[in-house]
Structure formats: structure tokens, C-alpha cells
């Protein structure tokens, strides 16, 4: 079945895109919603069936060739798919979480005039995301890679009449493109080094190379630059918080659960290469840790509920890169999975709150919603506990796996990781308390108008909450008597992770410390925001220096503006006005002037009558032809 039906998995969403794209103005909303979610559900069912088939099969790699896409000289790019344990799990996440978010969108976007367009874009996104994870070589992966970037652009700028939203969309695309150039150069180098871009060819050849070889280091650094763009790592992460301009289901699907984890997927997929490049691994670990910490610090003071979650996503992605850097490939991928559950849940929950509050996103104008939005509150609380790393919810297992590996490799990275976990628990509970506890603070929107969202929106919340709660079960470590199922499963995709050599006492101690950190953070947050009912100050009030840096996002946008955008703009004007107009064109005109001065006499021949010119041209041709005919032939 895998060989014969795999191509249907991405094709169905593409079909949905075509139907909804063409019928966006003519089809009814319920039909659009049905088609849009239906195709994803069908893909999900297919993915599930194939997953079970793969589980029972002895063969773990299935290659499906579609056609020869680009071919020139020795460079061949076949359009082909690879189905293996890694892509199998990714398919389930994308279509499963994707389906829930489609259902949610039916309720969330119901009043929007662009309902059809929205579902078309969402379907197109799922298509490209599936291509990304199914590609059997780096260029097919790149089709999906840039394709999801396009959908991200379209969906961030969905409400395009707001020009700051449109700018956010452009920023996301351009910053991703910076990473994409790195990715593309990395692929070129892979081809010139290994003579192929197919995973199945590249990895065995790479495995035969010397660890630490310069070429491998360069390849992996270039690929990592690509990952930094797509997965929002330093220094390219500033587009992700701005991407919150898109509708909330988009933030949940693209900017939390799936697209932004593409960089982690790509590195896990290429783990053979990265394992042989220790320098790159160190860089990844440091960048990841730094990103995790900085984003967590920024999240501490944000007042927009979606911005908190956006920075939290950046921070969690940093965590995953830390895991990759210390050789915990399955651990990072495990976190991709659990993060997809709890972060999608949190975003959708935030969307439910925003929906209930009539487009209010500022937590300073919320408060006391837990009685009104019971399901939203309960499910979001589960998500918060999961992300905070409290057992037995999913985030606890995946986070601790990364931290244990970090501890084994480098104590400093572990310590920063632990600090980040503390900050994460704090800002997440801060968000929950500000939103749901205390008194209702909104003066523009009457409290009795606040209502729980429709069941199309709460149903996905409940399913995701269950997954966020129990999702950790798929990779329970040996220390708890589990069998680390995911780790074994991914070995079928040649993803090896460093063995954990810590003894059980140390492991228990590490877990104890991180749980303690989360609990302390919870108590701090509770004391400050519930007991003392603290509300973040308004924008006009002066903040302390540290709070100011955090609130203003380390001034990164301003810094980029000063050191990159403005100089380039100035250069543009300089090139145009001085180099092009004065220097280059000046030289040309100099030649021209000499010529025109000398040819003034010849001007008399030009009468300015076009008819005359055409007549002369035709006459000339006739003369030439008749000369040929009469005198030569």
C-alpha cells in the first residue's frame, strides 16, 4: 500500500487547494470547510494505515519515484518520495494536528470574508509541508521548504489591508530566504562532494568520511543556516514574533506545530552528516541555548498573549537545537512531537480567548476568564503544565531527555537550559494567571458578552489536551521502566542518538531539579499575579532597565535596522544616483557627445516620416532579393 498510495497523501491537500481556490467565492462556507478538512482527514487516515503497515514490515525505507524533475549534465533531481519511520511520524503530526486545526478554523474564521481563501492557503500549506518531509533528496525537500515559506507569507499577510501585517509577511519571507541561500549552497556542496543529493546515496558515502572533515563542517554549517531561518534561531528569529499578525490557527499550525520545526526535522534527517561535524554540533548547541534563553527572557514581560506564545515557541525551538547539538536527535524529535501537541493547544486556546474577547489580545485587558471559558481554561492549563515540564505530562519527558543529554555533554549548557525551563514555567503561568485569574479588567467589552467558543473550536482543544497530557508515553525512558519506543522506532530511519551513560541516581536527581525549578516558578508566578494581583504596567510607564530590554526584545529589530537595512538603502541610493547616473552613464554620454557633435551634418537625411523609413526598408529588401534572383540564380 505504501508504494501505491503514498503520492495520494500530499496530492489530496493539493486537490483541496485547487477546489477551494477556484471555488472560494462561489462555494458555500460549510462546503469549503468540509472539503478543506475532509482532504486532510483522508490524508491522515492514509498516513495512519501506512504507519501500521510500516510497523509490521521488515523493510523500513520505501522509495517512490514520480518523475525526473530537473536534469542537466551529471546533475539529476528526481521528484521522489521517501517513506521511513521518521517521515511516517511527521506525516501523522502534520495531517493529525493539521486536521484538528482545520476543524478549529471552521469556527474561528466563520465571520471572515476570506473564508475560502483561508482554507485554500491552509490546504496548500499542508501539501508543501508533506512534500518537505517526504522528499527523498534535498531539492525536493527544498520545494516544500520554500513552499511552506510562501504559505507562511500568504497567511501572515492574510489581512493584507493592514500594512504592518503585510510588512510582517514580507519580513518572514525575506529572513527565510537568507536561510534558504545557506541551505541551497549547502546542497550544492553536498552534490559536488558526494555526486548526489539523494539521502540514500549521500549518507553512506558521508559515513565513510573522516569525522571533522572540513567539507562536512562547511556543509552542515550551511544547512544549519537554513534551519536558523526556518526554525527561527538567532540571529534570524525576529520574523516569528511578527508572524503573529496571521490568524491564530495559522500561528498554531505553521508557526508552532509544523513549519518552524522543519529545521529540526532536516537536521535529524541529516544526523549522519552532523554527527561527523563536531564543530557544527557545538555551534548548534550554543546557538540553540542562547536563543532559548533570550526568547524566554523576552517572553517574561510581553503583554500580548500571542507574543508570549511566539517567544515561547522560539525558546522551545532553541531547546530542540540544544538537543540536536548535544547529540540527542530522538530527544529533540520527541520534543518536536510533544511541542506540536501542547503549543498548538496553547495557541488555539489563546485563539479561543481572543475570539471570546472580540479580538482583544492584550492580557492587561483580560483576567478572570476561567469561569466563563471553562473548556478553554482547563485545556490550556494542561498545555501549560506540559510545557512547564511537570510530570507526568508530555513536556516533562521530552524536555528532560534533552536536559539529561546536555548535562552529559556540557554542564554550562545544562545550567542555562535549566534556567530557561524555570523562566518558561514562570512566564507560562504568568500568562495563565493574567488571563484567567483575578478580576475581569476589560473596559471596552462587557464581561457578560464573553462566551465560550463553539464546539468546532473546543473539540480540537480537548483532543490536543489529551495528547499533550499523555503524549509522553511514546518515549518513556528506561529509568522509569519504559521501553523508549520512539527511540527504537527512529532507529529504522538511521537516526542514532548518543547513548545516555548517566546512572539512574543522577537521572533522578536531574529530573528532581528541573521539576523543582518549575514548581518554584509556579509559586513565584502565583504569588505575584494571583495573590498580589499584579498587572503589567501600561506602555507609557517607565520600566526598569532590565524589563525595558526584555520588553523591547533586546532591541534586535532596531539593531538590524541600523546595521543592515539602512546601510543597504543608502547604498541603493548611492549606486543609483552616483555610480549609475553620474559615473557609468556619464562615461557613456561622454562618448555619445563626441559622436553626436561629429555627426551633425548627417542629421539632414532624417525626415522623421516612418512610412518613408518602412518604404525604404522594404525597398532595400526587394532590391537585395531581386539582385539575387536576376543576377545570380
Amino acid at each position: 500500500m505504501i508504494n501505491s498510495l503514498l503520492w495520494l497523501v500530499p496530492l489530496l491537500p493539493l486537490l483541496g487547494f485547487v477546489i477551494n481556490g477556484l471555488g472560494r467565492n462561489t462555494l458555500g462556507k460549510s462546503l469549503i470547510g468540509l472539503v478543506g478538512s475532509g482532504v486532510i482527514l483522508a490524508s491522515f487516515v492514509l498516513s495512519l494505515l501506512m504507519f501500521f503497515e510500516l510497523g509490521g514490515a521488515t523493510q523500513k525505507q520505501f522509495n517512490v519515484d514520480l518523475f525526473d524533475w530537473i536534469s542537466a549534465g551529471n546533475l539529476h533531481v528526481p521528484l521522489s518520495f521517501l517513506y521511513d519511520p521518521l517521515s511516517a511520524i511527521m506525516l501523522l503530526i502534520i495531517t493529525g494536528v493539521g486536521f484538528l486545526i482545520h476543524i478549529y478554523s471552521i469556527g474561528y474564521m466563520h465571520e471572515d470574508a476570506g473564508f475560502g481563501k483561508f482554507f485554500a492557503y491552509l490546504n496548500l500549506f499542508i501539501f508543501f509541508m508533506l512534500v518537505l518531509v517526504l522528499g527523498s533528496n534535498y531539492i525536493v525537500m527544498f520545494i516544500g521548504w520554500e513552499g511552506v515559506g510562501l504559505c507562511s507569507y500568504l497567511l501572515i499577510g492574510f489581512w493584507y489591508t493592514n500594512s504592518s501585517y503585510a510588512s510582517a509577511a514580507k519580513k518572514a519571507f525575506v529572513m527565510n530566504r537568507i536561510g534558504d541561500l545557506g541551505f541551497l549552497l549547502g546542497v550544492f556542496l553536498i552534490f559536488t562532494t558526494f555526486g548526489s543529493i539523494e539521502f540514500a546515496q549521500v549518507f553512506p558515502k558521508a559515513a565513510a568520511m573522516m569525522p571533522g572533515a572540513g567539507t562536512l563542517t562547511l556543509i552542515t554549517i550551511l544547512l544549519f543556516i537554513g534551519a536558523c531561518g526556518k526554525s527561527a534561531q538567532l540571529p534570524l528569529f525576529t520574523w516569528l514574533p511578527d508572524a503573529m499578525a496571521g490568524p491564530t490557527p495559522v500561528s498554531a499550525l505553521i508557526h508552532a506545530a509544523t513549519m518552524v520545526t522543519a529545521g529540526i526535522y532536516m537536521i535529524a534527517r541529516s544526523s549522519v552528516l552532523f554527527e561527523l561535524a563536531p564543530t557544527t554540533q557545538d555551534i548548534i548547541a550554543v546557538v540553540g541555548t542562547a536563543t532559548a534563553l533570550i526568547a524566554a527572557i523576552i517572553a517574561l514581560t510581553q503583554t500580548d498573549i500571542k507574543k508570549v506564545l511566539a517567544y515561547s515557541t522560539v525558546s522551545q525551538l532553541g531547546y530542540m537545537f540544544l538537543g540536536l547539538g548535544v547529540g540527542a536527535y530522538t530527544g529533540s524529535f520527541f520534543h518536536v512531537l510533544t511541542h506540536a501537541f501542547f503549543k498548538a493547544l496553547l495557541f488555539l486556546g489563546a485563539g479561543s480567548v481572543i475570539h471570546a474577547m472580540h479580538h482583544e489580545q492584550d492580557m492587561r485587558h483580560m483576567g478572570g476568564l476561567k469561569g466563563k471559558l471553562k473548556t478553554t481554561f482547563a485545556t490550556m492549563m494542561i498545555g501549560t503544565i506540559a510545557i512547564a515540564g511537570l510530570p507526568p505530562f508530555s513536556g516533562f519527558f521530552s524536555k528532560d531527555e534533552i536536559l539529561a543529554h546536555a548535562f552529559q555533554e556540557n554542564k554550562v549548557l545544562w545550567a542555562i537550559g535549566l534556567l530557561t525551563a524555570f523562566l518558561t514555567a514562570f512566564y507560562m503561568f504568568r500568562m495563565m494567571f493574567l488571563t484567567f485569574f483575578g478580576k475581569y479588567r476589560n473596559t471596552h467589552y462587557a464581561e457578560d458578552k464573553v462566551h465560550e467558543s463553539p464546539s468546532t473550536m473546543t473539540f480540537p482543544l480537548i483532543v490536543l489536551a489529551i495528547l499533550a497530557a499523555i503524549g509522553g508515553a511514546i518515549n518513556i525512558p528506561h529509568v522509569f521502566g519504559g521501553n523508549a519506543w520512539l527511540e527504537h522506532w527512529l532507529q529504522g530511519a538511521n537516526i542514532k542518538q548518543h547513548a545516555l551513560t548517566l546512572d539512574h541516581t543522577t537521572e533522578y536527581a536531574l529530573m528532581g531539579v528541573s521539576v523543582l525549578a518549575a514548581v518554584v516558578a509556579l509559586i513565584f508566578a502565583y504569588t505575584k499575579y494571583v495573590k498580589n494581583a499584579h498587572v503589567p504596567v501600561s506602555d507609557e510607564t517607565e520600566r526598569s532597565a532590565l524589563a525595558k530590554i526584555s520588553y523591547n526584545k533586546f532591541y534586535l529589530d532596531e539593531i538590524y535596522d541600523t546595521i543592515i537595512r539602512k546601510p543597504l538603502d543608502a547604498l541603493s541610493k548611492f549606486f543609483y544616483r552616483v555610480i549609475d547616473k553620474k559615473l557609468v552613464d556619464g562615461l557613456v554620454n561622454g562618448f555619445g557627445w563626441t559622436a553626436t557633435e561629429g555627426s551633425k551634418g548627417l542629421r539632414l537625411l532624417q525626415s522623421g516620416n516612418v512610412g518613408f523609413y518602412i518604404f525604404m526598408m522594404v525597398l532595400g529588401i526587394i532590391a537585395l532579393l531581386s539582385y539575387t534572383y536576376f543576377f545570380i540564380a
Binding site: 530537473i70 549534465g73 493592514n162 541561500l181
Partner: protein, 487 residues
């Protein structure tokens, strides 16, 4: 026979059209261009994608001077013939919304130019090639000078003198080669067989290169281009950017590489550096352009720079990338100029800051424009990616740093294209743009066709690559053989 039709059908069309007064002239021109397209399709069905020259004809013309009417097509010529004859009907159809004064002369000139272009792309005789080269220039000069914007006379004078000056260098080169040729003719194969030393090859290289570099244009020979593209009537801009600049590219491939490979080899590094500088330089200039037409003009310099760089790597990927990109660039650039023409003919402006919010009032235009923009920024799945991928790869294999610098085009392209798209289409409408109405009729036909081409060529480029593969390989083998022979 087919080639005679291909060459003289547009000429016949020009003569017929010049006698048709009023609005029917455009219809006549469209019919003739469609006929040419049919002939092309007919040829394509018979064409065998091997390296041979097909449909060849060779008539003696002026034997005293060794000039023959010697024509034929191989895969490389076929690409440019397809480009010309697919774009012509689109360009003519795109002009339907305008009522040009003396429209019979206008359309006659377009068809006349088509004959010149085809001649350039099928000529196997240097003299014939030169005739086509100039015959294509003169009509487009008149189109731009008679029907252009307010600065047209001054701008066009420069364009005309500049390109003519370049052509004269080429003419000198051709005459020199002719004099060196022991069989005293202008036959391309005789030119290929010439054994010139490295020093003289260098001179011939420059004579041809300047002509081609001005035509494309390559930095720093480009300064005529932005003014001319901006001032010309859109039809003229489309003819220049969509088709005519490919004469320069084709010239390099057909007349420069195989005739003076040693000269190319000696100077390729400089040509590559100029091309790569052009990519970055023109892209950066495009950032802050206020006039959308001028922005696209500069973006075209950047894109053509990448093509030129790919050629001078002398690799299969570079040349095959060039073949695909000639078609893609042609389709995309006329799409961009057409969109701007639709906007300016309603709103009388192409100034970016005066526009905005058009997507609200013109959703169809917004979608088609977006697809064209995506093709231009080389998104995978669009035609732009296939060519740009191969070209960047070829430059990368030549030199990793040059590859990285040329690769900046994928970032910079996104910056200026999306900036233009945002300022023109997104945001809120203003008093002016509120009055805009969405595309209709012929506008829809042209833009939909362009969008379909962008996607189809991007998803399944194999037939195009296959068409020219053998010819490109043979040409490169020829070059390499000669290079190893000289050394």
C-alpha cells in the same frame, strides 16, 4: 520550407498589416503571429532533439562575397524560436487595450521585427545574422521613438546609438573572421573551423562581446536600458526585455563560444565578474526605485547578469540553465511589464508610492501578479527556479564565493519584488486606487496564459531541457576540443 515560412510569414504580415487602417490592424497582426506560432508547433512535432541542424536551407545569395542564405535550427535555436513565437502573440494581445495612432504602422513594425528576430536565431551565415540583428533593432527603435513617453526622443537616441555602436564592433569582428576564412564565405561552420591564435581570439572576443553585452545588457554596458524600458510604450518594453535581449544571449552561445573558445577562456573570468557584479549592483539599485517600471528594468539587469554568468562557466548546467531561463525570463518579464501597463493605463502612474491596496479592488490581478512575482523570485515549482537553480549551481562550481555572491539574488530579489508587490497591491486603497477595476477580456487571457506557463514550466521542465540538451552538449564538446587542441 518551414523555415522560409517562419522567416517570411511575419514579413508578409507586416506588409499586409501596413495597409489595414484602423482597429483591424491589431487583429491582422495577431493572426499572423498566431500563424507563426502554429508553424513553430508544427516544426516542434517534427523536431528530433539530437544535436543535428534541422530544417536546414542553403541558397546562394551573393556569391561574389560568399554570402549565402543559410539557415537551420538545432535545439538551442529552437528554444529561442519558441520564445519569440510564443511571446509575440501574447505581446500583441497585450497591446489590444491601447488604441495607438497609426496602428497599421505600429503593428507592421512589430511583425517586421519578428522577421529580424527569427533570422538572428536561425541564421548559419554571419552576414545573414548581422542583417537580422539590425533588422530587429530598427523597428523597435521606431516603436519606442514614435509611441513612447515624453522623454522618448532623447532616451531612444541613446539606446539606438549605443546598440548600433556595439553592433559595429561585431561587424568588424565578422569582417575580420571573413578575411581569415580561406574559403571566403560567412559560413558559421567555416568560422568554427578557423584556427586563430590566442591573441587574435581575444580581439574577436571583445568585438563580439561588446555588442552582446550592450544588448543584454551586462554591467557596465547597461545604462541605456532603465531609461529605455521606462520611456518606451509597454509593447516596446516587452519586445526589448522579453525577446530582443535574448539576441545577445543567443549570440554569445552561438557566435562567441564556439568561434573563439580560447578568447572566451582567457576573458571568461572578467566576464563572470562583471556579470556577478551586475546581479548584486542592479538588485541593490532596485531596492529603492520609486517607479515600478524602472524597478523591473533593474531587476531584469540582475536576472540577465545571472544568465551571462552561467554561460561563461562553460558548463552543461550553466548553458542548460541559460536555455530554460531565457524562456522563463521572457515569460515573467513581459508578465510584470503587462501588469504595470494595466495599472498605468487606468491610473496614469507607475509610481509605487501613489499606489496601494489594489488587491482589494482587483483580486484577479492580485493573484496573477503574485504568481508572476513568485516566478521572478524563483520559487521552486515556478519556471524561475529551474533556470536559477542550474545557473547558480554552475556559478558555484566555477567558484564557491562567486556562487555565494550570485546567490544573493534569491534574497535581494525577494526584497525588491515583495516590496513592490506590497506597496502596489497590499495595504489600503487611496482615492486614486479606489477607482481601479479588475482585469478583463484580453488582459485575462494574457495573464492567465502567463501564469499557466510559469507553473507548467516550473513543475515539468523536462521537455525544455530535453530539447536543447544534445545541442548544448555538442557545443560544449566542440569548445573543449578546440581548447585542448590549442593548448
Amino acid at each position: 520550407m518551414e523555415l522560409l515560412l517562419l522567416i517570411f510569414l511575419p514579413l508578409a504580415g507586416a506588409i499586409v498589416t501596413s495597409f489595414i487602417k484602423g482597429g483591424s490592424a491589431k487583429v491582422s497582426a495577431l493572426l499572423f503571429s498566431l500563424l507563426s506560432l502554429c508553424v513553430t508547433i508544427g516544426m516542434l512535432t517534427q523536431f528530433k532533439p539530437d544535436a543535428s541542424t534541422q530544417f536546414a536551407l542553403n541558397y546562394t545569395w551573393i556569391p561574389q562575397l560568399g554570402i549565402n542564405f543559410n539557415v537551420g535550427v538545432d535545439g538551442i535555436s529552437m528554444i529561442t524560436v519558441i520564445l519569440t513565437n510564443v511571446l509575440m502573440p501574447l505581446i500583441i494581445l497585450a497591446s489590444f487595450k491601447h488604441d495607438y495612432k497609426n496602428s497599421n504602422a505600429f503593428y507592421a513594425l512589430i511583425l517586421f521585427m519578428q522577421t529580424g528576430l527569427i533570422l538572428v536565431f536561425v541564421a548559419l551565415d554571419a552576414f545573414l545574422f548581422y542583417i537580422g540583428w539590425e533588422a530587429a533593432l530598427i523597428p523597435v527603435y521606431f516603436i519606442c521613438a514614435m509611441w513612447g513617453g515624453k522623454d522618448r526622443i532623447k532616451v531612444n537616441m541613446k539606446f539606438f546609438v549605443y546598440t548600433i555602436a556595439g553592433s559595429l564592433f561585431m561587424l568588424l569582428g565578422i569582417i575580420y573572421l571573413y578575411l581569415q576564412n580561406p574559403s571566403n564565405n560567412f559560413d558559421i561552420n567555416a568560422f568554427y573551423a578557423l584556427k586563430l591564435d590566442s591573441y587574435h581570439q581575444g580581439w574577436v572576443f571583445w568585438a563580439f562581446f561588446i555588442a552582446f553585452a550592450i544588448k543584454m545588457p551586462i554591467f557596465p554596458f547597461h545604462t541605456w536600458q532603465p531609461d529605455t524600458y521606462t520611456e518606451a510604450p509597454t509593447t516596446g518594453t516587452m519586445l526589448l526585455s522579453g525577446i530582443m535581449l535574448k539576441m545577445g544571449i543567443y549570440g554569445v552561445v552561438r557566435w562567441l563560444l564556439p568561434i573563439v573558445p580560447q578568447g572566451v577562456n582567457d576573458w571568461a573570468c572578467l566576464a563572470l565578474i562583471l556579470s556577478v557584479i551586475g546581479i548584486v549592483y542592479a538588485s541593490i539599485i532596485a531596492f529603492k526605485q520609486k517607479n515600478a517600471k524602472r524597478l523591473v528594468a533593474y531587476s531584469s539587469i540582475g536576472h540577465v547578469g545571472l544568465i551571462a554568468a552561467g554561460i561563461f562557466t562553460l558548463t552543461t548546467q550553466g548553458l542548460q540553465g541559460t536555455m530554460v531561463q531565457m524562456l522563463s525570463h521572457g515569460v515573467n518579464v513581459i508578465g510584470l511589464f503587462f501588469v504595470l501597463d494595466i495599472i498605468s493605463s487606468q491610473l496614469k502612474t507607475n509610481k509605487i508610492e501613489e499606489l496601494g491596496g489594489l488587491a482589494k479592488v482587483a483580486p484577479q490581478l492580485a493573484i496573477t501578479f503574485l504568481i508572476i512575482v513568485l516566478g521572478t523570485v524563483a520559487l521552486p515549482g515556478t519556471n524561475g527556479f529551474v533556470g536559477e537553480f542550474l545557473l547558480l549551481y554552475s556559478v558555484y562550481t566555477h567558484n564557491i564565493w562567486m556562487g555565494a555572491i550570485a546567490g544573493l539574488t534569491i534574497i535581494f530579489g525577494a526584497v525588491y519584488m515583495l516590496r513592490m508587490y506590497q506597496r502596489v497591491m497590499l495595504g489600503t486603497t487611496n482615492e486614486l486606487t479606489l477607482t481601479f477595476t479588475d482585469i478583463k477580456g484580453t488582459e485575462k487571457i494574457v495573464l492567465y496564459t502567463i501564469c499557466v506557463l510559469i507553473v507548467v514550466m516550473g513543475v515539468y521542465p523536462k521537455p525544455i531541457l530535453h530539447l536543447s540538451e544534445a545541442s548544448v552538449q555538442q557545443l560544449l564538446d566542440q569548445v573543449n576540443q578546440k581548447l585542448t587542441g590549442v593548448n
